[in-house]
Symmetry: C2
Subunit: 220 residues, 2 copies
DNA sequence: TTATATTTTTAGATTTGTCTAAATTATATT
DNA sequence: AATATAATTTAGACAAATCTAAAAATATAA
């Protein structure tokens, strides 16, 4: 089956919302898609007719297994292209999202598979988000929020949940990137800020807000 | 200015047709676009309104300078992506056209420029067609048809005008690729076929039909 | 040069995806 | 439980891109 760009954008967006909330409602999807609730209702009917959606009028909705499969294919393409843009074309990671939004709708399956191989079958995109494989299987990583790890335990940065240009700027300043080694030295109860050591640099202090958006996994 | 995928496809197609015929007529564009004459007329009005087209009802049409500039940007993207698909993703050259037809509509200018640099600023695509630079300048090559070059003169294959899978199969069999060195040893008046030597291989005979679709340039 | 054939355009319909405004259903409040 | 508020859907309209069928313009041929 082949879906329009618009259908694919809805599918992807529903997927992300239902990951958080289980059932999705019309208004939140409209907000996330920057469109009107009436337009969402129109599309819900189409996706239900195409058997991608569990949907009862006024009762909320979510993708069924077929819908999730389609969503994961789109997400796979999006993240592989993001990886390509950052690793091969040397884009800054905060610039690649809108371009990947276009590239993810290129339909050739062979293209995706060859791109995957060309890139060395990466498991995570430049933001640390997992890249589903061709069967829709998502690599899992045992990650924890930087603000919650024990003191003195060495950890590696695996993803960043706030992916704005402002956040990138901060992380660049701290010299924090995906793969950076971090140890938390002290937690200040006053404002929740942390004293951390990034790799072999001098210790520094990050705000609770920053810490809550940085995810890490343990090495040892 | 930003154009729809449909508009871009028309612009590109008009460009190719007017390269051959000067003025383009409705029916031939409809044939090349696999659409109806009425649809072409509709689009011509739009492109004229957007000041890309010289068009008088019933009198034929052609792109003006602004239209040609847009066409060359699309062709540039198409050929850069074809180069990427063949050189980096290892697609066969007869498989890449439909994928490049999709990729050429990705809008980011920065993407095109970075892709160009990543590929090493190639001048010709995998079919030997010239890749316009960012200013729309097309590299010229002094090429001649294989069927018309003098005997014993060494030449390099620069492009192939018939780009079907069938042709590719023949050329693969003869071990002829872009960049191959060819010398014509003898011309048979009986059927126009040529005895040629490809690089350091044994001499072989190609039909007039093949020879007419292979273009070369001289080395010395 | 008149009649015929071909090409091109117009008129009006259709599909997809969107919208506004109004109606309907669900939820919250008193 | 009745009513007010919020969420959702329906009805009807619109723009883009296409189509068919008919009309108009141009080209060709007797």
């Amino acid at each position: 089956m082949n879906y329009s760009t618009s259908e694919e954008n809805y599918i992807k967006c529903i997927y992300h919302l239902q990951q958080q909330t289980g059932l999705v409602n019309t208004n939140s999807l409209a907000a996330d898609m920057s469109t009107r609730a009436a337009s969402v209702t129109d599309m819900l009917k189409k996706l239900k007719a195409k058997k991608l959606l569990q949907y009862e009028k006024y009762k909320g909705f979510k993708l069924n297994e077929a819908g999730k499969k389609v969503a994961l294919e789109i997400i796979r393409k999006h993240r592989l292209w993001e990886y390509f843009l950052v690793e091969k074309l040397k884009f800054d990671w905060d610039k690649v999202h809108p371009i990947a939004e276009e590239l993810e709708h290129i339909s050739s399956e062979e293209l995706v598979q060859r791109l995957d191989n060309f890139l060395g079958n990466p498991s995570f995109d430049p933001h640390g988000d997992p890249i589903p494989d061709k069967n829709g299987k998502i690599p899992v990583i045992n990650q924890q929020c930087l603000s919650e790890i024990p003191l003195k335990k060495s950890a590696i940065v695996s993803s960043v949940s706030n992916q704005t240009a402002q956040m990138l700027e901060m992380l660049k300043h701290y010299n924090i990137a995906l793969g950076s080694q971090i140890t938390v030295l002290k937690k200040f109860d006053f404002d929740g800020s942390l004293e951390i050591k990034v790799a072999k640099q001098n210790a520094c202090i990050v705000s609770e807000q920053v810490a809550k958006n940085v995810f890490v996994y343990y090495v040892q």
